[in-house]
């Protein structure tokens, strides 16, 4: 007879369903008057420090169809690489940047975030990770939210040293995590399945 370990078990995930907008972005589906503005719609203001960028892309299914009913959330550090979070142990996060955004895809499966380029964040053993944004995708047909990261095409040197990209490199799929930067716009298409399938993470 051994001692008992009384851990609880994580509540199982279920799909967000096709009407996820009702709960997460109610104004987007015309449920107005309950909350003033959908949460996570505006990420930056005049006081936000850092280089302004737009992150945009399409979410596509295994047949190339737009996933036009998904919701994408992003989470990122500020321009100095510090997260605005109670779980961040370093101080000095930009108080004018929450670092989190939420966007429902449009009819073409397109999402868009007006944000800032994040700084480098320390990774395992304190070695810096390349600038990146975490993304989480939920939708009808997705049983458990899909986590991925977007890195930047104009950070080739930092990307080459990034410890998470290093884990992906042997599979030859690293490029699916690199957002293509052109001017102030970074394009990041997410392919859920099949050819050029985006790498999804379990962390």
């Amino acid at each position: 007879m051994v001692n008992t370990i009384n851990y609880l078990k994580e509540t199982p995930s279920q799909t967000a369903g096709p009407y996820v907008h009702i709960g997460m972005v109610p104004n987007f589906c015309d449920i107005t008057g309950v909350i003033a503005e959908d949460l996570g719609k505006a990420m930056i203001g005049d006081g936000t420090k850092g280089e302004r960028i737009t992150i945009t892309g399409r979410v596509l299914d295994g047949a190339g169809n737009p996933v036009n009913d998904c919701v994408v959330e992003i989470w990122q550090a500020d321009a100095n690489g510090i997260y605005n979070s109670p779980a961040e142990h370093r101080s000095g996060a930009d108080e004018n940047f929450a670092g989190w955004g939420r966007c429902p895809a449009d009819k073409d499966g397109v999402f868009r975030f007006d944000t800032i380029k994040p700084g480098q964040v320390p990774g395992p053993n304190g070695a810096p990770m390349a600038p990146h944004v975490s993304l989480w995708i939920v939708a009808r047909g997705i049983n458990i939210g899909l986590l991925t990261r977007m890195y930047f095409s104009d950070e080739a040197e930092a990307n080459a040293k990034d410890p998470i990209l290093a884990r992906v490199r042997p599979s030859g799929r690293e490029h699916t995590l690199i957002g293509k930067r052109e001017g102030d716009t970074v394009t990041f298409d997410i392919r859920l399945q099949g050819e050029e399938e985006t790498v999804f993470l379990d962390a």
Partner: protein
Amino acid sequence: MSTSLPNTPQIAGSFFARDHSRHPPSYAPGYKSSVLRAPKQTLVSFDSTLSERTGPAFGHNMIGELDNDLIVNYARPGEAAIGQRILVHGQILDENARPVPNVLVEYWQANAGGRYRHKKESYLAAVDPNFGGFGRSITDENGYYWFKTVKPGAYPWPNGVNDWRPAHIHFSVFGTGFVQRLITQMYFEGDPMIDICPIVNTISDKEAIKQLIAPLDMGNTIPMDMRAYKFDIVLRGRRSTYFENRPEGN
């Protein structure tokens, strides 16, 4: 007694590995729309970094007075949603059984007839002009949340020829780290449609399914007013950080 030692850096511990055997797989053909939306490649696993251990916080001041009262938050003045009045309440905990305070919980549902207020919804059950179907709470210092609503109806959906969803409420929960993020559905004790639902049955572990079924809570049922259901939600636990102790660790 203090739970953190002085002179130690404050490090939020990394998370317990997710036990995928209790979650639905991405590819679950009984739920047809998962077939084209499931990755074919395996997930790339790594121990969470600061990017996953941190997450957004939302203040109590963003919550409006009626945000957790779906019976009236969309109703015309002096009117109310039609249906069985219920109180849904519970605690957000982590796998170490510690309450998760000050986190955002969002919920949405169909009306008493099983009709959603959504432009893509075409079910012939009537829309309730006094019911929006959305609310939100921030957990208190003990991780508790509660809201008032009407019990949602079951509704048919185009999966199999004659598939019906059991009565359910959708939940979206934030933890303190971005990878604690969870969306799930709450079902009601005793509903015979739970066992035959393709979405419920994407979960193969019968014990795990039970964790999604809220029991009738007569202790908190309000006489001559509303019944109560209790739904606790467990988020991933953090590992102990023995040399870098702080409350976010175990």
